[in-house]
Amino acid sequence: MPEQGVSDGGTDARAEYCEFATARAKQLFRVAFLMCGDWHEAEDLVQITLAKLFVAWNRVRRQDSVEAYARKVMVNAFLSQRRLRRSSELPTGDLAESISPGVDADLRLTLVAALQQLPPRSRAVVVLRYVDDHSIESVAGLMGTTPAAVKSLNTRGLAQLRELLVGEQQELFQR
């Protein structure tokens, strides 16, 4: 069955979509950036997410699941890209070039570099849990897996992050 997108739903649907996209793009970007560690790739992920949402808008909005749909599309796109590019993952030492300067640039570099060392699924779980405030059950729904699997990925991801960050502890937490 063809998707029912914004252009099938008239100006109200379009206005609703634009409102949602404009309001949520920044948060989607934050999630995307911390998952992929690259500014331009994060922009691509958000564009893909919003574009797919645009195409499916009428169906999705009727089901009152816009937020979940957007997250699901983004996580799937991220994991799919990781599968395609896993042989060409950037080493952490090269990340600096792709990160724009900011107030807390050192902190960001350190954290993003640590996140990049987590396996993609663990990274996605940690970011969804702590940046996007999803419960274990919600993340399981988004990733199409069980809460037990998410809990396990979360625990392992956190443990790995602790190990990676413990050496930076003083610098990170005295800001």
């Binding site: 950036f33 911390l34 807390d104 702590y130 990170l172």
Partner: protein, 294 residues
């Protein structure tokens, strides 16, 4: 026991990590307006592509798509062998697709009198209204055929696995940059009548057309064997992505569709050349080749 209390947690707690992530996230300030605008451009393109691409399979109830794979075919192919190309492109230009094989090149009505072996004297089956997916060419068969029709020196790589029987999407690099190449060979009944028509006025670009790009055009013609062919240089989308679109609707009830872009199109278009590889005439010759069949 929470993650924060886990053995070996040291002084970095779950709460510390959550705070760090939050601080970093809050500091990110992307160009939201630009992202939303690009997303809308991309979505329009998705819809256009879906119409052009998925429509080919709508009437076919292709259920076996997932079972058709390219296992065993190397993705990173070496250049095509000169021996293969030499037998296929006697009169080809630099790109070499034109005049492909002995069974190809049906010519326009003005070149009447020439008929491809195996088609001119055979009975037309007439338009097909239904076909089993098993009757369509597999991706592997299409890939083998395509390799025979392309000139030496090119590289085919990264075939998409989401296409079903009768369809192939792959990257093609003629040495000047990889581009997206799509081919479908379907019963004519799977397409609307309008796909071989040229719109008036012609399409307008959605985004900046690359410098030195070919202009938008569309030509419909009848070939000597009764086929109707429409070739078009398409409009550029928001990424500057455009290319050749060729439909060859044959009397036997088969339509061959070829789309050749000016860049790759995996997750997002990557445009790095002004023009698609080869000429329209060369790709028309590929589309017209009798090797494409149901």
């Amino acid at each position: 026991m929470t993650d924060a209390d886990a053995p070996g947690a040291g002084l970095v707690t779950e709460s510390d990590i959550a705070d760090l992530l939050e601080r970093v996230a809050q500091d990110l300030d992307p160009a939201v307006g630009l992202i939303v605008a690009k997303a809308e451009q991309m979505s329009r393109r998705m819809r256009l592509r879906r119409r052009a691409w998925i429509a080919a399979g709508c009437g076919l109830a292709i259920a076996a798509a997932a079972g058709v794979g390219l296992a065993g075919i190397s993705l990173a192919r070496p250049p095509l062998t000169p021996a293969v190309a030499a037998g296929s492109h006697g009169a080809a230009g630099s790109h070499g697709a034109a005049g492909s094989q002995g069974t190809a090149g049906r010519g326009t009505a003005s070149a009447a009198g020439w008929h491809p072996p195996g088609r001119a004297g055979g009975k037309s089956r007439g338009p097909l209204t239904a076909v089993s997916p098993a009757a369509l060419m597999t991706r592997q068969q299409m890939l083998v055929t395509l390799r025979r029709l392309l000139p030496a020196g090119g590289i085919l790589s990264d075939p998409q696995t989401s296409t079903g029987p009768g369809s192939l999407e792959i990257d093609y690099n003629d040495g000047k940059g990889a581009v997206d190449l799509r081919i479908s060979v379907m019963p004519t009944a799977a397409y609307s009548e309008q796909v071989v028509d040229c719109p008036r006025p012609l399409w307008t670009d959605e985004g900046p057309r690359p410098a030195f790009a070919l202009p938008v055009s569309c030509t419909r013609r009848m070939l000597a064997d009764g086929s109707i062919e429409r070739d078009a240089v398409m409009y550029a989308d928001g990424s500057g992505f455009y290319g050749y679109d060729i439909y060859d609707r044959r009397p036997a009830g088969i339509t061959v569709f070829i789309q050749v872009g000016n860049g790759t199109d995996h997750t997002v278009p990557q445009v790095d050349r002004a023009r698609p590889p080869g000429s329209m005439a060369e790709w028309r010759a590929v589309a017209e080749n009798a090797a494409w069949r149901l």
